[in-house]
């Protein structure tokens, strides 16, 4: 409880600092939201041509897009410290964290809260709600609970990716840009039903980097769709937990990384 209230205190301070520059904050918020509107328009234009994609309608894809974008926006909002970890190390800010009687994982989380991601988040939510109004999903308590867990799981998944990117600084000092393939590339790829891709590609993003668990399987579940490749019902049902598990594994990786931390030579 103490650490939760301390966390809230930390991010309150961060948000207050960001709000100090209200004008630039508003500007960024707007630009963020409009960029992501364009994102979705691109998908819509594609559908204007093809009407359907591997048995998925535009609004079903809207659901896919909405879920993955909400997860990514929240992840980038709360895990900004991991996203910018390289500069944290460079400034010696991570040294400062190590001399405090608090966990490092916790402190990097509490280091920054990127409020302007609210722009992207609201755009994603709007897409999700519009898509939902065109689909007739019968929302039971079970499905609502599932959706909630899926959003948590998906957010955890993206945070996990950011953690891996950050932890690589413990060895290479410079963070690996490859992680962007999985985050930004993953969003792009995951905005379409995964069944349209090659088999090895599908498997990679299901079993190695479980991106499919973020939005594809949850969408199947919510839409009562049958998975053409024949993924079992169990996998679909437990998909939300995979992201949470993934984050736990990356936390262990983080812990191991910290013991290799070399600091900087000044």
């Amino acid at each position: 409880m103490k650490s939760l209230s301390l966390y809230l205190h930390f991010i309150t301070l961060r948000i207050r600092a960001q709000m100090a520059y209200r004008f630039s904050f508003t500007l960024e918020l707007l630009s963020q939201a409009s960029i992501s509107v364009i994102d979705f328009l691109m998908i819509a234009i594609l559908f204007e041509r093809f009407k359907q994609l591997a048995n998925w309608t535009l609004w079903e894809v809207g659901l896919l897009y909405g879920i993955i974008s909400v997860c990514f926006a929240v992840a980038e909002m709360v895990a900004r410290g991991f996203d910018t970890f390289q500069s944290l190390v460079g400034r010696g800010a991570f040294d400062n964290m190590l001399i405090r009687p608090l966990g490092t994982f916790y402190q990097v989380f509490a280091h920054e809260f990127q409020l302007r991601r609210v722009g992207k988040l609201s755009q994603a939510l709007v897409v999700f709600l519009i898509a939902n109004s065109h689909l007739d999903i019968s929302w039971t308590l079970g499905k609502l609970g599932y959706l909630f867990l899926a959003l948590i799981g998906g957010t955890c998944f993206f945070i996990g990716l950011l953690v891996i990117g950050a932890a690589s600084c413990f060895w290479t000092v410079q963070s690996i840009e490859i992680i962007n393939i999985f985050t930004h590339g993953g969003i792009f790829m995951g905005s379409y039903p995964i069944s349209i891709y090659q088999r090895w590609f599908r498997h990679f993003f299901t079993f190695i980097v479980p991106l499919a668990c973020v939005n594809y399987f949850p969408s199947l579940f919510l839409l009562n769709k049958i998975e053409p490749a024949g993924a079992s019902r169990i996998v679909v049902q437990f998909a939300p937990f995979i992201g949470i598990l993934f984050l736990c594994l990356t936390a262990l990786f983080w812990k191991w990384g910290v013991s290799h931390y070399q600091s900087t030579g000044h």
Binding site: L13, L98, P101, G103
Partner: protein, 336 residues
């Protein structure tokens, strides 16, 4: 007196990787193991007792900061052991952190965009400092360091001297037993330095806080440290009282004479002339070969003088001698 810090055969080797730039480069870096090793600390052993102030000295790159980083839990040692208050810093990092105060003078430990007061309040929450203790400390530090002048100023706007004072106070808010200071007076003017020294002295005397500090300022050492540890090139060179170091090295003294006129031959037996400018001449001599009195008598018999003075070499010269002559004065005990 009990031992607070126990360092045995402590070593740290850095792996420095070769970096390739760019996107593909960063990919290659992942798999490439090309690196060289930098030995920053090698087989260093020492202990520090409660209430001591120890000067941890050495030239640039000697390994001072690296040692402090291992004592504070920032770095994991490559080999050897270290305990502080009985805790192993890198393994029991959080427990250790509660009982130590740390200032790396080169950068601030406070939050850049927060005013000093809010930084302190944040620390109060982080260390769970009771209200009474917090107020008592802030009051006391304010008195000693005049924090009031800039208590509401964001850290980023502080002058170097103000920032250092704020950082020092911040490091002591939670009543640590041990204080690690890495160049706490770097870049400060004479007045600010004196103030920081006085503060360290007072905290040490009143609270029995053990202090380990590194510095390149020998005034700091003279004013604060009874005991010094010298390291050079990652290795321990001397560990003992400052007075001992001086005695060990000051076998030679300087005699400076202002003659009444310029003499053609001013050589004196048992004294080496090291410097001459006009009527001023400097001799180096060893008291074991000739006593100061005998030397002065010899001079007075031959010449007319205006002034004469005897000097002991200052610490700066002593330390230089240790570095340059590779004197291993007090080889560290070998631990099993």
């Amino acid at each position: 007196m009990d031992t607070v810090i126990d360092v045995r055969a402590l070593s740290k080797t850095f792996k420095v990787y070769h970096h390739r730039k760019g996107f593909l480069g960063s990919f290659a870096n992942l798999f490439s193991r090309k690196h060289r090793l930098v030995q920053a600390v090698a087989q260093v052993s020492f202990t520090v007792k409660r209430g001591e102030i120890v000067g941890y000295l050495g030239p640039n790159g000697a390994g001072k900061s690296t040692t402090l980083k291992m004592l504070t839990g920032i770095l994991v040692p490559s080999s050897g052991s270290v305990t502080v208050n009985g805790y192993i810093p890198h393994r029991q990092r959080k427990e250790n952190a509660k009982r130590i105060g740390v200032v790396f003078g080169q950068r601030s430990h406070l939050w850049f965009d927060l005013p000093v007061q809010e930084s302190f309040e944040l620390l109060q929450r982080i260390y769970r400092i009771p209200q009474a203790q917090y107020h008592h400390n802030v009051e006391m530090f304010d008195e000693l360091l005049s924090l009031g002048d800039f208590f509401q100023t964001p850290v980023r706007q502080l002058s170097l001297g103000q920032r250092m004072r704020a950082d020092l106070a911040a490091a002591l808010l939670h009543n640590p037993d041990v204080l690690f200071l890495d160049e706490p007076t770097v870049g400060l003017d004479v007045v600010a330095k004196a103030r920081i020294r006085q503060f360290i002295q007072q905290i040490n005397a009143e609270r029995q806080v053990t202090v380990v500090l590194t510095t390149h300022d020998l005034d700091d050492v003279e004013k604060l440290c009874k005991r010094v540890i010298l390291i050079d090139d990652a290795r321990l060179r001397f560990d003992g009282e400052l007075a001992t170091l001086r005695r060990l090295l000051s076998t030679e003294r300087l005699l400076i004479v202002d003659y009444a006129e310029v003499y053609s031959d001013i050589s004196i037996p048992n004294a080496h002339m090291t410097y001459q400018e006009g009527t001023r001449v400097q001799y180096r001599f060893s008291p074991e070969e000739i006593s100061t009195a005998a030397l002065i008598k010899a001079i007075l018999q031959k010449f007319k003088i205006v002034d004469i003075s005897v000097q002991e070499p200052d610490i700066e010269e002593l330390i230089k001698a240790v570095y340059e002559d590779n004197l291993l004065l007090n080889p560290p005990a070998n631990f099993p």
